[in-house]
Symmetry: C2
Amino acid sequence: MTIQTRRERERAERERLIVTAARELAEAEGWDAVTTRRLAEEIEYSQPVLYSHFKGKGAIMAAVAVQGCADLAEEMRAARTAAGSPREALAAVGGAYTAFARRRPALYDVIFTLAVDLPFATPEAPPALQDAFGELLQAVLPIAGDGEDTGLLTETYWAGLHGLVTLMRSGRLPEEAHEQRLALLIGHFVPPGTS
Amino acid sequence: MTIQTRRERERAERERLIVTAARELAEAEGWDAVTTRRLAEEIEYSQPVLYSHFKGKGAIMAAVAVQGCADLAEEMRAARTAAGSPREALAAVGGAYTAFARRRPALYDVIFTLAVDLPFATPEAPPALQDAFGELLQAVLPIAGDGEDTGLLTETYWAGLHGLVTLMRSGRLPEEAHEQRLALLIGHFVPPGTS
DNA sequence: CAGGAACGCTAGCGCTGCTAGAATTCCGGC
DNA sequence: GCCGGAATTCTAGCAGCGCTAGCGTTCCTG
């Protein structure tokens, strides 16, 4: 029994090693630099080892995405709970979201633009994804107008944030006015008179 | 002179052939299917011919993007000029934008998510891109609040639309509630009391 | 009709994700 | 202590990618 468990433990550790190496390499040099050969070299094993842990490169990226999404959820939670008014909370979460996207672009990309084989808007979605969406939802809840579907409103706010960061990071929107655009978005989501 | 001009004409025609073939192939089978070998086969020339017209695959995609953006601008213009009130115009342009993205996903991707070597938010941006943005701007102008920067407001509205379509098309937002989310976005951009 | 330039082709480079099958390592029973 | 078998890891290679050097042909010009 001990041998079996030791092997399983080593295997699990190596799996974490792969995910960590992929994340660090992507954050350091971008996802283009993350090839299976490079990754194998990084973890000091041969390529096929990767495929004994993951179905393919996409699955490794998905694992990185889930891990990164937990970070994002945590940062949004911290921002939200530190804020005072509902309006401040909405702005804080939006600011945390876009700040994450700009500070860790490779991580943001793999969560929200690249990897596709992750279930998203379903109950089977990984908890980390649901947590991140939940943070947005908590921030949107208090500022929802009468009769507005909170889930849909959250999705719409999320889309606004996502559009801002993706267009900016791909050079389609100039960086310098980001804060002003973010303020405009938030301002249009908060009903007038909400403190 | 006639020989020279004939050659130039044939060259220009072949260039259009390349761009058209790339666009049709992408729209039919997605950009993954657009390889230089496949493209060469499609136009019945060898691969290197492509590189005598374009610097690389990216440049071909950029050409498709510019051509597609003209279509988008045209559709938004038609929607805007057919609308009655400012609110209807904003909704019509937003609807035309998202409808374009859903009807021609490959084209939308190459304009707004894939190709990067196009100047966007500068005076050197291709006219087609500026036209498309101009249509959005024309729709946003009448509903801008006092003291709001119209350009920034347009960019923010654009980001909202872009976020909606990209998250939906990548499976991160469910398709069915699209119209409701779009209505929410538009509703939050139109000041209350604007007819 | 010959010389030369312009043109398009064949062939190939280094890279990608991924995999079949050989080789090695390690554990359990005698 | 040692050997057979199972589990594991590696070497080697496939098909395809974007891109290019250099050869062969074709066609215009003097």
